[in-house]
Amino acid sequence: MHKKFISLLLVAFLLVGVLAACGQKTPAENNEPTDTNTEQETEKPADTEDNESAERPTEQGDYSNEPALVLGANDFNGVFSPFFATTGYDMDIVEMVHASLIGFDRNSQPDNSGLAEYIEPEEVKGEDGTIEKTIYTFKLKEGLVFSDGTPITADDVIFTYYVLCDPNYTGSSTIYTTPILGVNEYRYDDVDYADKVAKIKEEADNYEPTEEEIEKKAEQLAEAYGMDKADFMPDGPYYEDYNLAGIRQDKYNADITAYIQSNLEKSEGHVEEIEGIKKIDDRTVQVTIAGVDPKAIYNLGAIRVAPKHYYGEGFKKGDLSMVEAKSGEPMGAGPYRFHSFENNVVTLVANDFFYKGAPHVKKIKYQVTNTANKLEGVKLGEFDISDPSASMETLAQVEAEEDIHYELIDNLGYGYIGINAERITDKNVRKGIFHLMDRKPAVEAYYGNLASVIERPMSRVSWAYPKDATEVYGFDPDKAMEYFEAAGYKLEDGKLMKDGKQLTIEIGIPADGKGDHPSYPIVLGVKNEGEKLGMAVNIVDYADGNKFFDDLDAGKLDIWCAAWQATPDPDMYQTYHSQGPSNHYKIKDSELDQLIIDARSTNDMEARKEMYAKALDIVMDWAVEMPVYQRKNMYIFNKKVIDIDTLPKDMTPYYGYFAEIENLKLTEAAK
């Protein structure tokens, strides 16, 4: 330590002394080869004669002297594991180093671009005609190898599933929520899992509460809804649906939690295999799920196949330490090989064994940068590709630069304003409030051409977004007043009153405490127009986003402004089903529930499209969610370095600028 200290001191002095004269960049001409593991002995792939891999090189090239294509990225956590990466930029590296089992096209529909061909799932029908299970078959293409030359086999695919479904898996993937046969038995180590859960459910549904419990629940409900306790007592109108159902739901939650907790406590393994995952032959894997789940293909197909011999040494159920230990040095079958992460730079070199062909760009580096410097960094030539946050100002600057090419791609998600139907119980009041929202000028002022107003609460990127949807609640204070009057409010002394109470709402918005949010002008408009009509409107601007989401989850907000991330599948269970865990709107509609369940029980896209269009109309009529904007993300490219013609055409959020990375070329000048 002492020695290190002194040598550092010396270096420090040295640095200060020599700084002055080094203003110019030159490539290192004769540096030694960086690392030994870029050039490895490789086994020849098993059968290379009869397919395209016949032209595959037998050895990986050494690209340590190659100048690199440089990307400006945000902070890395250095977790580049296909299992444990959580941040977007770590994920980018994972995607470069690993290849996906099934490929997806521009609309996120499965195609044949992945490691395995896409085969339509087989539906197995029961006697009564309903689909009992769905079988997915994944057949790996021939002659595939990982970047170390080892063949990719069914065992690698199965290994990847087992890690993701492990009871002690701590990453962010949720593939285990797919109803794979036997996955819960495996995770909870209980062969009778399904029976026990069914029993708990049945017991809870038939539970007869004591008088004390009824009393207590009624008190809670009365306070939550601001109504009379008597309404929730056995003689009241809301007893069955709210009090009794609530007590039973509470009991179910408590019992299931206790059961899962007790299962988590014990560590002894009894279930060693997942019933629904089967190896058919060396290249074929079959996954069987219960019933139908249109989302399953995304969970099962989009996995990054990980080499078992590399990640899985000594892997057994419950012990992922070996897998985790490799998080900093990923290896897979993707277009690039991981070389290093040091000095805030990630270095990747081409994988000449890549199944779609060896990439032309032999080295790619990700340089960590401050978001504010992304545009300047590209302008100065410090990096060649980046994603500055899209604003009108940035767009104007980029357009003025001759050497910068830019792409605007829709963001996978949308912005909305939500209303909690349990806090503002009258639909007419909610509709009235919606008529006070003037969305277009707000979105235009904040984003200019970089976002547009949407008319249904769904990202326009989704195939299920009804293209012909029109505005439901236009800005119209007169109409708003009509709705408030219909709800029984009357103007008294300039105040909108009903039963002696003024119409009062509170709006939560996470605008950094300084009104910096695209929806801020909208809620400000609601406040101004609302106060003119005699409402009391309070806007709470959260400086701390975490606090905002805590309050939202706790159901403390009447009205709030937020955004949803979209998934490729438009399933709405989580957000709009009456039992959905993210149903912050408290929308409870039996017709909607049925539509949601029906739509997730079929793989027929056209039929689902229709159901979702209907479901969205119901959501709009409930007036609990005002769709606000669909925004775009910006990507910039240095034309002097990158041959723009080799970027993919018609990029979408599912098909970005690196979707065809193996074809990307640098310009002549840059070489």
Binding site: L8, L9, V16, V18, S81, K295, N370, S582
Partner: protein, 322 residues
């Protein structure tokens, strides 16, 4: 002296104990936790999933139980594995602190070289034009927010003149080796070091000036002058040495703090130091890392005060530690 050190160390342990309780309670009370942040926005997440993940990450306990668990491990030297980096936190801290230290230490040396002489000169020429100039410069530096000054430097040297790289630690495009690499890193560190020096120099300079003024008004200086010694001899032989006493103790005490990193400057210049890493961990609720990092800061602070107390006794024989 030995007794003093032992007593101080024992006291430090007690303080650390208290610090860790407060830290743990504060961190666990922050809104949002790591499990919430990795599951947020994922429509597949069920309450069961969250329950299990919280259990696996040890977030299912109350504050007191959690603290006892943490303390039990920490006392055995096991500070756990970082949630977000998936590596032992001690390994992360020991690898990144040298980056932060090399930056901060270089800046610190430059600060001393500039600040101490300037402080002494302005004290000897109190209320002269030079004194005012130096004082204004010092206050200017203290008042400059580092993020603002960093942006100004970037605009001038990187964007305007194009002689220094905008940010980062190395030129990513080329793989420099050996001496070239050191030069490359040095070039990238110029602006961050300038930020440290300019924003930090004022304090040390005012401190030297104040001490020198105090010494200059002491009786023995008057005696030296009365004896007819030359002004140079009075200042540099008699006064200067005595001024050094508090300065040396201050400098010695500051050194451990140089390891702990600078959150803002490291972030702006994309330097992979302890400060920016700490901020990243804080944002994502990485409890093991935040705990270890803050305990590390606390240890360094306590070490700093201990060193400066000991140095005080070493430099000034009149001081007896007991």
């Amino acid at each position: 002296m030995k007794q003093f050190i032992i007593r101080r160390i024992l006291l430090s342990i007690l303080i650390l104990f208290g610090v860790s309780i407060i830290l743990y309670a504060l961190i666990r009370s922050m809104p949002g936790d790591y499990v919430t942040s990795i599951t947020a926005g994922n429509p597949n997440v069920t309450p069961e999933t969250i329950l299990r993940l919280k259990k696996l990450y040890g977030l299912d306990t109350g504050i007191i139980e959690g603290y006892i668990k943490w303390l039990g491990q920490a006392l055995r030297g096991n500070f756990g594995e970082s949630f977000i980096f998936k590596r032992p936190v001690t390994e992360i801290i020991s690898s990144k602190m040298w980056i932060s230290f090399s930056l901060a230490f270089t800046a610190f040396v430059i600060q001393i070289i500039i600040a101490v002489p300037l402080g002494i000169i302005s004290a000897t020429k109190q209320y002269s034009k030079l004194d005012y100039f130096v004082t204004i410069f010092a206050l200017f530096g203290i008042s400059l927010p580092s993020f603002f000054f960093a942006a100004v430097l970037q605009r001038i040297f990187a964007i305007g003149l194009g002689i220094l790289p905008l940010q980062g630690m190395v030129t990513a495009r080329y793989d420099y080796k050996g001496f070239r690499l050191i030069l490359d890193i040095a070039k990238h560190f110029v602006m961050p070091i300038m930020v440290f020096v300019v924003t930090g120099i004022g304090g040390l300079m005012r401190y030297s000036r104040g001490n020198m003024l105090e010494v200059l008004s002491a009786d023995y200086v008057r005696t030296a002058r009365a004896k007819g010694l030359s002004e140079n001899k009075v200042i540099y032989k008699h006064a200067f040495r005595n001024t050094l006493i508090p300065i040396v103790t201050m400098i010695g005490g500051s050194i451990p703090g140089l390891f702990t990193g600078a959150v803002i400057t490291e972030g702006i210049f994309a330097i992979d130091g302890l400060g920016s890493t700490g901020l990243l961990a804080m944002r994502q609720g990485d409890i093991p890392f935040i705990m270890a990092f803050n305990i590390f800061i606390a240890v360094m602070t306590l070490l700093g005060t201990l060193i400066s107390d000991i140095l005080y006794a070493v430099v000034d024989p009149r001081v007896r530690l007991s």
